[in-house]
């Protein structure tokens, strides 16, 4: 089982305490293989976001195990989990989550910087990516000057630029 690229085994997650406790996931096991595109579908409140948070190393399960590249990550310290997110995972957020005080190119370059602070040519790489996504005239625009579609493309650049899988 630990050889699986990505997955959860027997994962349970609850939020809240006592009477207010809500069980978001109950003993869920699901694995995803490398090179596959997987969709998680379900009604509102069925635990999709909680499952993605587990797989993205953003949340630890109350019970069960989370595997990323075959490694059980829920036993890691917070600092080690941060390193896993930094090195092994890419995100493209539905709500974009761009930094409002930074330009489009700085937003993308920040993704590179967080991955590797010593990486040379971050701005050039960010510029190349944005140009490939058709945003050559928006490099120095801040998020509030971009349309939702353009924000989505900047967010995609941030995610693709990190060149890591799994990709959420």
């Amino acid at each position: 089982m630990p050889n699986h690229f990505l997955g959860v085994e027997g994962a349970s997650v609850s939020f809240g305490k006592r009477e207010a406790q809500v069980r978001a996931l109950r003993s869920v096991s699901q694995f995803f293989e490398r090179g596959t595109l997987s969709l998680v579908m379900g009604p509102s409140g069925s635990g999709k976001t909680t499952l993605l948070s587990l797989l993205g190393c953003l949340l630890s399960p109350d019970e069960g195990t989370v595997f990323i590249e075959g490694i059980a990550v829920n036993g890691l310290s917070e600092a080690e989990r941060t390193t896993v997110r930094q090195k092994k995972i890419s995100f493209v957020f539905q709500a974009f989550r761009l930094f409002h005080s930074l330009s489009a190119i700085d937003n993308v370059a920040l993704g590179f910087e967080l991955r590797d602070a010593a990486l040379p040519g971050r701005m050039e790489m960010a510029r190349d990516l944005l140009v490939r996504f058709g945003l050559e005239d928006k490099l120095n625009k801040e998020p509030n000057e971009l349309s939702p579609g353009e924000k989505q493309r900047v967010c995609n650049c941030t995610g693709f630029g990190r060149k890591s899988l799994p990709f959420f």
Binding site: T49, G56, L58, A79, Q86, Q94, F99, L114
Partner: protein
């Protein structure tokens, strides 16, 4: 801490605690430095006026620098609560709209 969501995003993308703390502290120090400059701009002209009224007033140049230090220290101390909030924010918030 109106930017708490941005700190959650930074942490989700793999920013270390030290990186996040450094950003908050840097912002506090920049605010402190700008405030000190504005304060000095107000104080320096008034020194001349004070001297015209009370001739024995002595204000060496280094006293102005010494005045800046407590303001920077106070801004750093005041940022501790913000640093704590930024460090404890759950990165899992990023998936909630």
């Amino acid at each position: 801490m109106e930017n708490i969501e941005e700190y959650a995003t930074l942490k989700a993308l793999g920013a270390s605690q030290a990186f996040v703390a450094r950003i908050v502290l840097t912002q506090a120090l920049i605010c402190g430095a700008l405030g000190s400059i504005l304060g000095l701009l107000a104080v320096v002209p008034s020194i001349g006026y004070a001297k015209s009224l009370i001739p024995w007033i002595y204000t060496p140049w280094w006293l102005l620098l010494v005045m800046v230090m407590p303001s920077l220290a106070m801004c750093s101390l005041a940022s501790i609560a913000s640093v704590r909030s930024a460090l404890t924010v759950e990165p899992g918030r990023v998936f909630r709209a």
